[in-house]
């Protein structure tokens, strides 16, 4: 191995050498710089290789031939190797990116860049506090120089503000160092740590000064205004270094100092880090300038890592894994985003829509955003999981809650941005991207995925990037050049194939879900054959969702479950985002989903109590420390899952998301995706069962929520003018029923929930396809604009007819089976009042369904639709399959239900159904689906035959042949009664559907925004104020710590 000293020596030698080159030899100077940086990368990569793969021991590097503490020494270990590699790589890529700017400014600028990178390495390597100070000052000065690479005039002011504050910081650092030296007689970090500085006279205070000064380099809230200005105005390539490399180095410096400070100072680090994390994220919310937003986000991420470092007392050996996981995610993503920002002409977030015309750059952006948000399979995801595990085990719940809250806020602005990118109007200007710039950006993308792989490998769990379904989904990224129908065939084949491979593994319950997720998904995909072109982005997203679901049902470990959960969330988010006007809805979907996911994460973490692997099945037998927390765990998990099923209160994302999605996406996200939440609830109730919290039976609370969800979902559905929205609200109501069945906690209740799972899949997928087809042909979703379409689109009418009979539970179709089981189930219900609510919900379903079929297909045909064609074949085909399925399931529900019924005996031995002959019996009643079907069929057929006989000469009349107050109308508009269809109902019951919940969430987000907007007035742009902030920060920390 080459001594780590060469990192410093090479950079310096090259920097000095540059001075010897003639000013005109720009190319040569640039080459020397790149060569030096490449050499440095080689050195640190070599060390990383040695440590990570060959298990080499850390090396102490002495200078001046004397032992520490008498001479400065450096250390090269795993962390140092990784960090220097990160720094050098960022440096090299930024240098590539900066080619034009650097060539313009010449060798001096190159030298400054080299020295900056060298100094960052120095900070990481050195074990001497004063040496640390020297390197920090080098960074300060180099930053002062590199800021000027920017084309932005304001960079000058920003640089000066930075220098002002740096001066103040360095005063504190120097005073701290000299007193620490006085107290311990050494300048060596390990020496100081060994001499227990804090116990010496004045030692604690000296440490405080050093600590606060180094922490200030992390830009803690509120002492960070100067850094934001730099982020905003500097050249993006420098901001990349400033964010990724400087942040990493400063964090490591703090880490070293914490070694000196010992356990006493860990809470301080945590506190500062956490406040910074949360505050910076809230401050970022109202940002519109991209680079400043990234600046806030950098500060927040650094704060988070600081908080993690402060938790090393409980994280122990896992600290590097977690901290570096978060740090690496942040660094790679942030560097990548800054590089990208250089390609975007405008500085407003919406200007980034320019990237949309460049799919590869778009992919890069998405990668970075997902990394930042800590989504799988990136390192941040693993880190977050481990962090939650440890925090929950030690009962540091407030901390966990704050971290998750901050992460959610962060996801809020990141995904809002992503939405702008994908949905906003792209500027006409072409995005210019030189090969150098592209190299930098894509190197970051590759690094991101590679890190994801490494972290998965190190996690001691399933490496997500080796899981077959996920790989299959990701493979579609490489297949994007294929036409859509090829990809569709591949996708269907893959899903069916996976089902065939795995179906023997499932118990009956899981098998039902597996069939719906995989086979059901494949059927819905048939509709996608209707799409033309390449459909960029559709297949990776859809397959990601399905991969998540496939992994979800197979998961036994809580980690696998959670990872699958996040994957399906992300996949479905991108799917939903594809809709024309779905930007705000996709955002609210992902936010609610992530919020729910965080609750699930917290729930699992609490339940595991630090155990590295936690089997979901053992939720039922929690260990001692977790046992008293069981109701809380239940609550967290239940709410988490309920965000996916859109229970009332957390339902507001659903209508928009489902309604605005594309024609073939709506059935996927409604018919299939919602079942993931139910699956979670099934697992939860199966394992944890009943829990009491403050004397309240939680399943009873669930009953109430479910009943209200059913009622209000249905009620809101009847007042919709938009057909797809109507169906979406209806899903909320239906999920309420299913949840109700689960919460009943008896055999039949669960059976009913399963019945709903199957039924809802079939008819909701069918209805969404049918209505989607109609909307596609007519170009509108407003029902009152349609009417009389039965003549134009009879094939789309049939599924709707069948569908509404099924949904409303009218015999003889399968919906009735659900209702019958429901009534039998509630016979033993413990709580009767919620039943009243759900009774009320029943007939209301009938209302909106009638509206759906009437206002679209019946009534008067409008002039503009006289030439409308039937929906495309590929959209009709799956509907017909569903019709057949529905009829089959109506006649022989036992096909699916019998096995599940038997399986449920395991949990509720009593109250099962009897399956003797064609009749199905319970302890209260009986039901014979075949007989019903035959009786109804025979009566119907007889009467029809009779009518046909007596009325054989019926004459078809024209559209307006109606008695209309003695007039013959001729305009369909005046005769199609469709708008505000249930006006009397609104008068009577409208008070129940005031958008209270929407208002609540809106107020909440508004409050956050306002808070961010007010708080950021703190950064008034005056360099002096920033110095004030820093001093106030010092004093505040000092006082809060109780005077050290």
């Amino acid at each position: 191995m080459v001594s780590a000293l060469y990192l410093i020596a090479a950079a310096l030698a090259a920097a000095f050498l540059l001075g010897l080159l003639k000013e005109q030899w720009r190319g040569a100077a640039y080459a020397v710089t790149l060569a030096a940086l490449a050499f440095m990368i080689w050195v640190s990569a070599g060390w990383l290789w040695a440590f990570a793969l060959e298990g080499a021991a850390p090396v102490e590097i002495f200078t001046a031939g004397a032992e520490p503490p008498f001479a400065i020494n450096l250390r090269m270990g795993l962390a140092e190797a990784a960090l220097t590699l990160l720094i050098n790589l960022t440096g090299l890529l930024s240098a590539l990116y900066l080619k034009d700017a650097l060539s313009r400014l010449g060798r001096r600028a190159l030298a400054v860049l080299l020295i900056a990178i060298m100094a960052l390495c120095g900070i990481v390597l050195t074990r001497d506090v004063f040496n640390l100070f020297v390197f920090f000052e080098l960074i300060v000065i180099a930053t002062g120089g590199l800021v000027l690479l920017s084309d932005d005039d304001h960079a000058l002011a920003a640089g000066f503000k930075y220098l002002i504050v740096s001066q103040v910081i360095s005063v504190f650092l120097l005073v701290g160092i000299i007193f620490a030296y006085h107290a311990t007689g050494t300048l060596n970090i390990d020496g100081m740590a060994g001499a227990s500085l804090g116990l010496k006279t004045g030692g604690a205070l000296a440490f405080f000064l050093m600590f606060i000064a180094v922490v200030a380099e992390l830009k803690p809230f509120p002492a960070n205004g100067w850094a934001l200005d730099i982020y905003e105005s500097a050249h993006p390539a420098f901001s990349a270094i400033f964010s990724a490399a400087t942040g990493a180095a400063a964090l490591y410096a703090v880490d070293k100092l914490l070694l000196i400070g010992g356990a006493d100072w860990l809470p301080v680090a945590t506190g500062i880090g956490l406040v910074t994390f949360v505050a910076a994220n809230i401050l970022a919310l109202p940002q519109t300038n991209d680079r400043r937003l990234l600046g806030y986000s950098s500060i927040a991420q650094t704060g988070l890592v600081l908080a993690v470092l402060g938790q090393r007392d409980i994280l122990g050996d896992a600290t590097p894994y977690i901290a570096f996981g978060l740090l690496a995610s942040h660094a790679v993503a942030k560097a990548g985003l800054y590089w990208l920002s250089g390609l975007v002409a405008g500085r407003a977030l919406a200007d980034w829509a320019a990237l949309r015309n460049r799919p590869l750059l778009l992919f890069a952006f998405v990668t970075f955003i997902c990394m930042l948000a800590g989504l799988p399979p990136f390192p941040g995801f693993y880190a977050k999981w481990e962090l939650a595990r440890f925090l929950a085990a030690e009962g540091r719940l407030a901390l966990l809650a704050l971290i998750l809250f901050g992460a959610l806020v962060e996801a809020g602005y990141l995904f809002r941005w992503l939405g702008y990118l994908i949905k906003r109007e792209a500027p006409a200007a072409e995005t210019a991207c030189t090969p150098h710039q592209a190299t930098a950006v894509f190197a970051a993308v590759i690094a991101g995925w590679a890190l994801g792989f490494v972290w998965g490998d190190l996690s001691g769990r399933n490496n997500l990037l080796l899981v077959l379904p996920l790989l299959f989904a990701l493979a579609f990224l490489l297949l994007e050049w294929l036409p859509a129908w090829t990809k569709n065939t591949l996708a269907i084949a893959g899903m069916v194939g996976w089902f065939v491979l795995t179906w023997t593994e499932y118990d009956p319950l899981r098998l039902i879900f597996a069939v719906i997720f995989l086979i059901g998904g494949a059927i819905t995909l048939l509709a996608s054959y209707a799409a033309h072109g390449r459909r960029i982005g559709f297949y990776p997203s859809a397959m990601l969702m399905y991969a998540g679901m496939a992994m979800l049902i197979r998961a036994t470990d809580s980690f696998d479950f959670f990872a699958a959960w996040e994957l399906l969330t992300v996949g479905s988010y991108f799917l939903i985002l594809r809709g024309k006007h779905s930007e705000p809805h996709a955002l609210s979907y992902i936010l609610f989903s992530l919020g729910g996911a965080f609750l699930i994460l917290a729930g699992f973490a609490l339940a595991a109590q630090g155990a590295p692997h936690f089997d979901i099945a053992s939720l039922g037998q929690l260990g001692q420390p977790a046992q008293p927390l069981a109701p809380w765990i239940f609550l967290l998990l239940a709410i988490g899952f309920m965000t996916k099923t859109a229970a009332i209160g957390v339902h507001i994302w659903l209508p928009g998301a489902h309604a605005e999605a594309e024609t073939d996406v709506s059935p996927m996200v409604s018919g299939i995706l919602l079942k993931a939440g139910l699956f979670g609830l099934f697992l939860l109730l199966m394992t944890m069962g009943r829990q009491r919290l403050y004397g309240i039976e939680l399943t009873h609370a669930l009953l109430w929520i479910a009943a209200l969800t059913a009622l209000l979902g249905n009620l809101m559905a009847i007042f919709q003018e938009d057909a797809k929205r109507l169906l979406a609200y209806s899903s909320i109501g239906q999920m309420g029923y299913a949840l109700f069945g689960l919460a009943l906690m008896n055999h039949l209740g669960w059976l009913m929930a399963l019945m709903f799972v199957i039924n809802h899949y079939i008819y909701k997928a069918m209805l969404f396809l049918s209505i989607g087809g109609v909307a596609k042909r007519t170009g509108t979703r407003e029902m009152y604009r349609m009417g009389g379409l039965i003549r134009m689109m009879p094939l789309s009418f049939i599924p709707v007819l069948i569908g509404i009979i099924a949904v409303s539970g009218v015999p003889p179709l399968s919906g009735f089976g659900g209702r019958w089981i429901f009534y039998n189930a509630i016979m033993t219900a413990e709580l009767r009042l919620p039943l009243v609510v759900i009774f009320l919900a029943g007939p209301i379903a009938f209302l909106y369904l009638f509206r759906l079929i009437h206002t679209i297909f019946l009534g008067q045909l409008k002039d503009e639709f006289r030439r409308v064609r039937e929906a495309p074949f590929w959209i009709v085909l799956p509907q017909m399959i569903y019709v057949v399925l529905l009829l089959v399931f109506a006649v022989v529900p036992g096909l699916a239900l019998r096995h599940v019924d038997a399986y449920l005996n395991r949990f509720f031995p009593e109250g099962g159904l009897g399956w003797t002959g064609p009749a199905i019996t319970s302890s209260y009643g009986y039901w014979n689906p075949i007989a019903i079907m035959i009786v109804v069929g025979v009566i119907f057929a007889t009467l029809l035959a009779w009518l046909l006989f007596v009325n054989r000469r019926a004459q078809k009349v024209r559209q307006f042949n109606i008695v209309f107050a003695a007039e013959r109308p001729f305009r369909p508009e005046t005769t199609h009664y469709a708008w505000n269809f249930f006006a009397p109902y609104r008068k009577a019951m409208g008070f129940l559907v005031q958008p209270f919940v929407t208002r609540f969430w809106e107020t909440l987000t508004d409050l956050l925004h306002t808070a961010g907007d007010l708080a950021r007035r703190l950064y008034d742009g005056n360099g002096q104020s920033y110095a004030f902030h820093f001093l106030a920060f010092v004093v505040a920390v000092f006082l809060l710590r109780g005077g050290v």
Partner: protein, 118 residues
Amino acid sequence: MAHLAMATGFLLILVGFYGALTNRNILRMIVAFSIADTGVNIVIVAVGYMRGRSAPILDSTVSAADALARIIDPVPQALVLTAIVIGVGVTALMLAYAYKLYEKKRSLDIAKFTELKW
């Protein structure tokens, strides 16, 4: 003696800070920081001072053998040298910045350079 020097040093730091916080003129701020830097340097040197001993240079008066008992702590002296030089570097940089800022706005008022905020 050491206390006195140290108190002076601290006082200079505070004076420098006060000047930097209350003067809006950039040049005055730079001067104020120089004062604070000087204060820090004095503090550093004061920490190394030991009553009745001489500078850490071996010559006819202090031989290598009795150095242990005769010289003061050399480390702060080495450190202060570095600190001074770094201070000079930063000051030079700030002056250059001040010049450029003035060139841009024809003003040295720090409160005028607030385009970047929030």
